[in-house]
Structure formats: structure tokens, C-alpha cells
């Protein structure tokens, strides 16, 4: 079971990500992490994977709109979104086939239950054996809960990713957390997608998924595709 990010140059360098891999994506604000996360999710859908996105910053409807508004040739029933925002804002939106509601980013129990429900649905009912989990973002969760609590949560769910041979992508805002927090969380991941500000925009590289870190690539976001330059 092998996954691709859908970022062609990186995929060539990595040579396929094995099932059960957990990746931290860390980068500064406004560097396009939401689009990159959605792009990784989209390319999974193109590859026939199921995708579960935990959204802690955008209402689930907005995340779903990202996919729907682009008229993509994907099966929408393969997308599951855990919305941690809408009910925190005091809106009583009902759950749908694509969107399950967690009470708030504090509600790690509820988030965990909803992730498990989507995994069960995709695995048992639709019988998809390859699933991607994208948590966007851990930084919001860390604003509401302490590091130890989030570590416990991730310890369980990175384990579930391994058990299910799935792919996990976890987004973190660079500069929002102290070094201890990042170092502690890094223990849970197999690799990182690092993003930094370059001279002509933002750059990314992959660490831990190749024998040595890849070079830094300038990139641009072109619709659902991430184009690397250099």
C-alpha cells in the first residue's frame, strides 16, 4: 500500500509513501497550507482513497465547498469532514453524509469518535482500504488543550493510522509554538513537510521520508495542484 502526495517532484524523490505513515506539515501563516492539505486530499481521492479532514479553523461546509466549487472529477461520498468550528460558534448545523460535527476543538473525545466513524464507514461499508487523515490544524487544538493532552490524542490516532495502513497529515503553524512543543510532537511522526519563506515566495522540502532531506523547492499553488520550481 503506497501513497503519493500528488506533488510530482516530491513524489519522485520519495518514491511512494508506505501505508501507516504520519507526516507533520509545518509552515508559516499564509503559506498556503490549507490548499496544500486539500491538494493532498484531492490527489488521494483521484487515486481512489477515502479522505477524512478534521477542520479546526474553517466550518466543514467551507472545506467541502473547496472540493465542490472546483468541479473536480471525484466521488464526493469518499470525503468525510470532522467540523470542529460550527458548533463552537453556536450554530446548530445538522450532520450530513460528508460532515460530522465535533462540539469544539476541546472535544478531543468527540473528534476521535467522528474520525473512527468515518474510518469504519469507508472501510466496512464502502470497502475502501486506503484512507488519508488530514488534521488542519493541530495548532488550533493546542490553543485549547495542553501539550500533554494533545500528545495523548495523537499517540492514539497516529497508532490507528499505522494499524489501518492509512496516511496521516497533521498541519502545524510555524512560530506559534515553542521548541519543546514541536520537538515533543515530532516524536509521533515519520516525516515532515517543511515550509519556509524564501526570497521569491514560499519554499517546501520533505524531511524523514527520503534518506536525507530534499532540497528546498519554490512552489506555487495552481488550482488543486502544487507546482514546484527549481
Amino acid at each position: 500500500m503506497v501513497y503519493n502526495l500528488g506533488i510530482s517532484r516530491l513524489d519522485e524523490l520519495i518514491g511512494g509513501i508506505k501505508g501507516g505513515t504520519n507526516i507533520m506539515m509545518i509552515g508559516p501563516p499564509m503559506s498556503g497550507k490549507d490548499d496544500i492539505t486539500n491538494s493532498i486530499a484531492y490527489h488521494g481521492l483521484i487515486d481512489g482513497n477515502a479522505t477524512v479532514i478534521v477542520s479546526t479553523r474553517e466550518p466543514g461546509k467551507n472545506v467541502l465547498d473547496w472540493f465542490e466549487s472546483r468541479n473536480l472529477n471525484i466521488l464526493m461520498e469518499h470525503i468525510g469532514i470532522v467540523d470542529c468550528v460550527t458548533r463552537t460558534l453556536g450554530f446548530g448545523a445538522p450532520e450530513t453524509e460528508n460532515i460530522k460535527m465535533a462540539s469544539s476543538p476541546v472535544d478531543l473525545t468527540g473528534i476521535g469518535v467522528k474520525i473512527s466513524q468515518f474510518f469504519e464507514h469507508f472501510w466496512m461499508e464502502i470497502q475502501l482500504r486506503e484512507t488519508r487523515l488530514c488534521i488542519n490544524s493541530l495548532s488550533t487544538i493546542l490553543m485549547y488543550s495542553n501539550l500533554q493532552t494533545v500528545f495523548r490524542f495523537l499517540h492514539v490516532f497516529t497508532g490507528r493510522i499505522k494499524a489501518a495502513n492509512a496516511l496521516g497529515v497533521y498541519v502545524i503553524e510555524d512560530g506559534m509554538h515553542d521548541e519543546k512543543t514541536i520537538v515533543t510532537l515530532k516524536q509521533l511522526f515519520d516525516g515532515m513537510i517543511e515550509i519556509r519563506e524564501g526570497e521569491d515566495g514560499y519554499q517546501m522540502r520533505v524531511v524523514g521520508l527520503t534518506p536525507k532531506p530534499t532540497q528546498w523547492f519554490d512552489y506555487e499553488i495552481d488550482g488543486v495542484n502544487i507546482i514546484l520550481r527549481g
Binding site: 462540539s103 476541546v106 478531543l108 469518535v113 474510518f119 469504519e120 488543550s145 489501518a164
Partner: protein, 392 residues
Amino acid sequence: MIETGIPKLDGYLHGGIPEGNSLVYYAYPGVDGGVFGMQTISHAVSGGRCGAYIASSTDPRMIRDQFMEFGWDMGESVFADRFTVVDAFSGLIGADSQERYVVPEPDNINSLTQCIKQVIEEMPEPGIIVFESLSTVMDLCGEKETLDAVLEWNKYAMLYDHVMVYNFTAWPYSEETLLQVKGDACNSVVSVGGISEKVIFGWYFGLLKLDWAEMIRKWVLFKILKPGGVRIYIPKILVTGPFDAGKSTVVHALSNRAVSVDRLGTTIALDHGHIDHNGFAADVFGTPGQERFDPIVKLLSGEAMGVFLVLDSANATGFARGVRMLEITESFGLPVVVIANKQDLPEALAPEEIKTRLDIPESVPIVPAVASAREGVFEAFEMLVEMVMGVN
């Protein structure tokens, strides 16, 4: 005694939770244990008790909506005086609260304790206090501090004969903490777990501890329905019997939704239905009856937890074939209930007469039924469920 309203659980608790006692729903991560506490308090309040729900990870404005998703209308005016939401959430995000009881600092155990004690004191009669998430309290206030507070709250509630109920998710806390939650913290512990292989695909509950009566060690599968809440779940009940005995009619009579793969009214592959009755949910699978489909019958029967043998009470020539079908399904040792169908026909034999003509153990019950009128089928279902629960 305060009943939980969870099917079977009240039986295992010997009637419910006695006043002054405490219970923890000990759920494994990813398993929805929260609904157990919600169902418990909604059952108690709708039964006339007072209840307070400590919201620690949900905006209180959303709490009643969450209950409503399960069909429990806690916002109903008749409950207004009896149901209280204690807001231990808004303080975390700096939001205002409209609730009567507000914990100003939810991440401070003393602040929470002060509010809980006030609730305990002011509840007009012995009632129930349910914590939405003890694990969230623990995450915010610390493991030891929270466990010490639980012991204090339980003691204080005992003075007022209130029942304390905690939803707890067993994240990888320290071993000492988990042992204490399962051990000394409360009078009873209900484990709510998941069956997993790659993913969690089934749920079960059972007692881990009970200190007010003899503990019944049984595990039952459950499903969560919206609306409905916790339902005991039997994944597979087989409905078999000779041709034209009324198997498909039984499946459809029992089911909330059902489909049949048939041709010209005769089942040629299977019937499938989902039952939701009286706190129990089950998936039923009906077999074809004609001999040429016997290989399918054997395939369908795997992993069944109980069997209905449907007989046409007016056609005794089919009885031997019915018993033969039980053999084909290899259901020996499984709970079996015979449905003596078509009792409305003039030549129908009485269940006692059918029993004398069947070569089956004396203990197998025979239930008279008219499936086309949905008569007798639910009695048979309840009987089979009791037998399945007894075996498991």
C-alpha cells in the same frame, strides 16, 4: 434507584443505580461513550427525576440540540425545572453564558468543585448529575487533582442521595490514573469498548465493577441510533424454514426496512431486514426454502447468533424439511425459536401439536404467529434476543 435507560444495563445493575452511588462509563478512545451519559440523564429526567449535565467540552447552547439528535427533547418546558446544564465550557473560550450555573474557571478544579457542590446542594430532591467528559476535566485540571475531586464530589453527593455519573475516555493517562478510575473512584464501572481490526467496526459494553450487588459478567454488542440512542445489537439472526412457510413475510413483518432478492414472489437468494424494537437492534437474514438453494442456505448461516425456524402450521409435511434446514445451517447449539406461522388458517396445528411432531430439543420454544398480520413475530424476536443474551 435511578435507571440508566440503557437496554440490558439496568438488569445488570440490578435495577439501576441506587441513590447516593456513582457510576463511570469507561470508554475507549474512538468509541462513543458520551451517549451513555446522555441517555442516562434523559431517561431519568423524563421519568420525573432532577438532573444536571456538566458541559465541559460543548457550548451549552448546543447541548439541548445534541440531546435532540437522539430524540430526547430536554428543552421541553415540562423538563425546564428538572434539567440543568452546568456551563463548564464558556469560561475556557471567554464567552458569556446564559446558564444558571457557570464555572468561571473550568481549568481550575476548585472553581469546578465549588460549582458542583452548589448544584448538589440546590437540587430540590435526590437526582442525577452527569459529567459530559471527565477526561476533559482531567486534561484541564490534572489527573490527580481531578481524581481527588471525584472522590470529594461523590462523598458530597451521597449526603444528598444524588447519583453521580461520569463519561470518561480512557486516553493513555498514567496507569495509576486509569486503575483508579476503574477501581476506587466510583461504585460501578461500565466498560464501553470497540472491536477493532484495522478500524473499529463494532461496539460492546459490560460491567467492570459493581459494589452494591453481585456483578453479572456479560458483554453485549450495541449500536447507536439517531434518533434512539443505545440499542443492543445482534449482527445476524437467521430466518430459515421450508418453502412457502412465510420466511420473507416474517423478515418484512419484523423489520423497519427490508429487501428481498426474489423471483415471482419466491426468495431465490436472501431476504435482509433491520429490526429496531424495544431497545434492541438486529440484522435478519432470510434464506430460500427450496432444496436447490441449500448451498446458499449454508453460506448465509455463517456467524449467525440466533435462528428463527419458520413453519407453516397448516402444512405438517414441511416440518421434516424444516428440521433438515436447521441441520444445513449448522446452527446446532445456537438459540433457536420456532415460529409456527399461518395460525389464522383453519387447518393450522396448535404449537403443542407441532412440538410433538418435530424432532428438536424440548427446550426450543414454539411461538404461534400470523406474520402477515405481524402477530406473534415480535414475541418470538424478544424470546430469541433473551436467549442470545443468555448465551453471550
